[in-house]
């Protein structure tokens, strides 16, 4: 009985109901979007930086160095001599150094010249094919392969540049040195999914730089350069000594991913906190709107409420009708909002947008969303409570006298 009446009353005030649902949906969508963004961005940044204690690159902004080398999001700060790789590998405080040669892309997906050890950082496994070995060989991350339609054995021509020119295809192409896909990687949930990975030699070759002899360590004047080095410490002494040594005694800079990531997250956090506050404010306004709508409805339906009581409905049933109407409105608003948030995220994180590069998972639902939905439904129920309480104060004889006689 209650459900039928609730549906009938909601249909009777369709516009008002729809507006209240839309208002709540807007607030929930904003809150859920921010929740997903803040939790997934932090998680993603942490996962991408796992296993890298220090990044060494050309002098410039440490945050830019971290963004470009670990998250593959910004332009590199410049190049450093290849000799730095050998020097760091000899250092007793260093367990592992992985070189990166950046600067090229294919239809917006970055081409990274490195070693197979880079992929092991992300636990990447080959889904089909073999690891790159020869000149021009490359392996493609799962997402990049899917979006670009690349399969094993396929050849493509990379282009110079990593920014808009790469996305638009306006960068200079290395037509003479096409890439051959030797493997497609399984999805890792990391930045590796969106990369095309090849050897440093291939990058040098594409740019007409002669690779140094395998067994000879190049000096600082050698032509071959790399973009950055991902360093893993062997011990705590390395962590204390190396950053200071690199920053003071060389023309390079070192940046600690954990520090830069925290700085980035705290900067983002201020904005996210402000936006979350705005979202909750919207939710309160939505609740207030339900309160006003339900109060007006209860006033307008005073005769109906009295009639229902005369027909034999208990106070609890009539009370439940009003309470449920407010609650159902809030439930619909919350569900529509949560769904909208995921749809919006799916839309903006597809293709080549900056958000897409963050690698957010739009259809991953989090427990925090349940809390947001529960709170918003609670707000709806509480605001409907006051109008619903009117049924306990309605004077039946007086109401029937006013409206019936």
């Amino acid at each position: 009985m209650i459900a039928e009446l609730v549906i009938a009353y909601m249909r009777e005030r369709l516009l008002s109901t729809a507006l209240n649902i839309a208002l709540l949906a807007l607030s929930v969508a904003a809150l859920v979007l921010l929740l997903i963004a803040s939790s997934q961005i932090g998680e993603r940044l942490e996962r991408n930086a796992r296993g890298v204690d220090l990044v060494v690159g050309a002098k410039g902004s440490p945050l830019q160095l971290i963004l470009s080398s670990i998250y593959q999001m910004d332009r590199p700060t410049g190049n450093i001599p290849l000799s730095a790789l050998y020097q760091l590998r000899r250092d007793p405080g260093v367990a592992r150094v992985i070189p990166l040669a950046l600067g090229d892309a294919f239809r917006g997906y970055r081409i990274v010249g490195t070693e197979p050890a880079y992929l092991s950082l992300y636990g990447a496994q080959i889904a089909a094919g073999q690891m790159f070995a020869g000149q021009g060989d490359c392996v493609v991350g799962a997402e990049a392969a899917r979006d670009l339609g690349l399969t094993v054995g396929q050849r493509f021509i990379g282009g110079h540049g990593m920014g808009e020119e790469a996305e638009s295809g306006s960068g200079a192409e290395h037509a003479a040195q096409p890439f051959t896909v030797t493997a497609i990687l399984k999805p890792t949930g990391t930045v590796a999914d969106r990369l095309i990975v090849t050897s440093v030699d291939t990058i040098w070759h594409m740019h007409g730089v002669e690779a140094p002899a395998v067994d000879a360590e190049p000096d600082a004047s050698a032509e071959a350069e790399i973009t950055a080095l991902l360093v893993t410490y062997r011990n705590a002494a390395g962590a204390v000594r190396l950053p200071m040594m690199i920053n003071r005694q060389t023309n390079m800079q070192s940046a600690v991913p954990a520090i830069e990531t925290n700085r980035l997250l705290s900067l983002l956090g201020v904005g996210i906190d402000g936006a979350m506050l705005f979202g909750w404010l919207l939710a309160l306004i939505g609740g207030l709107s339900i309160f006003v709508a339900m109060l007006n409805a209860a006033n307008a339906r005073e005769g109906d409420l009295a009639l229902l009581r005369v027909m034999g409905a208990t106070r609890g049933q009539v009370f439940g009708t009003i309470l449920m109407e407010g609650t159902v409105t809030a439930v619909l608003g919350a569900c529509v909002g949560a769904l909208t948030a995921h749809l919006v995220l799916a839309q903006v994180s597809s293709g080549q947008s900056p958000l897409a590069q963050l690698g957010l998972e739009p259809w991953r639902w989090s427990g925090g969303e349940v809390v947001i939905v529960a709170i918003v439904v609670g707000i709806g129920a509480i605001t409907a409570l006051v109008p619903a309480m009117r049924i306990f104060t309605v004077n039946l004889a007086e109401t029937l006298g006013k409206t019936g006689r």
């Binding site: 009446l5 339906r301 027909m311 019936g404």
Partner: protein, 244 residues
């Protein structure tokens, strides 16, 4: 204006005061005995006694302020009894608490008002389903359709209420009050807002459908157009008593 003789108590005939109403009689759809009521110390009803037997009809007449509405509110359990006794089909309305009065009204009484007729958000059909469900705990679509047929509004059963005429709405209200097969149907000024043709057909319909279901009928009115349609009449004076 006809007034029934005091003491008539045979089945099918209402009786007025002068003799104490037989409260426990299973044949009495309504028995009121020595009923008095006051608001803020001012008497509204004084020592009212009468009964309506099963399948009988009675007209409750009286000028404004004579206590008709209060009497109906007491009979239907909307107001609690202060003094005297009311029994509906042998069950006490007087002395019952709010929940018990609600339950007795739900099971035994149908009420038709002048303008407060139906739940606004529902169609006529859904109103009847709801009323039957509230009264009996379940709804039987065939019974609803049969009653809509008898009321002559089945073709309008699924139309929005705003598209129904006043006469159709009042017919629907009669259906809503009767669908639970009550022992007593109380109609409060059922024809006041209707034109002559609709007033005549409404009172005819009330009498016919109540008779068809074996429901007793108490019609409170000051509408002169229907006064000659029910011979048994109870007249409240402006002194809040039954006219001598």
């Amino acid at each position: 204006m006809h007034r029934s003789d005091a003491g008539h108590g045979h089945a099918g005939t209402p009786s007025l005061n002068g003799a104490r109403a037989d409260l426990q009689s299973p044949t009495a759809a309504l028995a009121v005995s020595n009923l008095s009521h006051a608001f803020a110390g001012q008497a509204v009803l004084q020592d009212i006694t009468f009964r309506i037997d099963a399948a009988s009809h009675m007209l409750l007449l009286g000028p404004s302020g004579s206590g008709k509405s209060t009497l109906i509110n007491l009979i239907t359990g909307i107001l609690p009894c202060q003094s005297g006794a009311i029994h509906i089909a042998g069950e006490p309305m007087s002395g019952a608490n709010g929940r018990q009065r609600d339950d007795l009204r739900r099971r035994r009484i149908g009420v038709v008002f002048q303008s407060l007729r139906l739940v606004s958000a529902l169609t006529v059909r859904r109103n009847l389903h709801l009323a039957q469900k509230l009264a009996t705990g379940s709804s039987v679509p065939e019974q609803v359709d049969a009653l809509l047929d008898r009321l002559g509004i089945r073709h309008r059963a699924d139309a929005p209420l705003r598209k129904l005429s006043q006469g159709q709405l009042q017919r629907a209200a009669i259906g809503r009050a009767l669908i639970g097969a009550p022992d007593l149907l109380v109609a409060d000024e059922p024809t006041s807002a209707l034109d002559d043709a609709n007033a005549a057909s409404t009172i005819d319909l009330l009498l016919e459908t109540a008779a068809a279901q074996g429901t007793s009928l108490l019609v409170a009115t000051h509408d002169k157009r229907i006064m000659d349609r029910i011979s048994h009449q109870l007249v409240l004076t402006d002194h809040s008593r039954i006219a001598a």
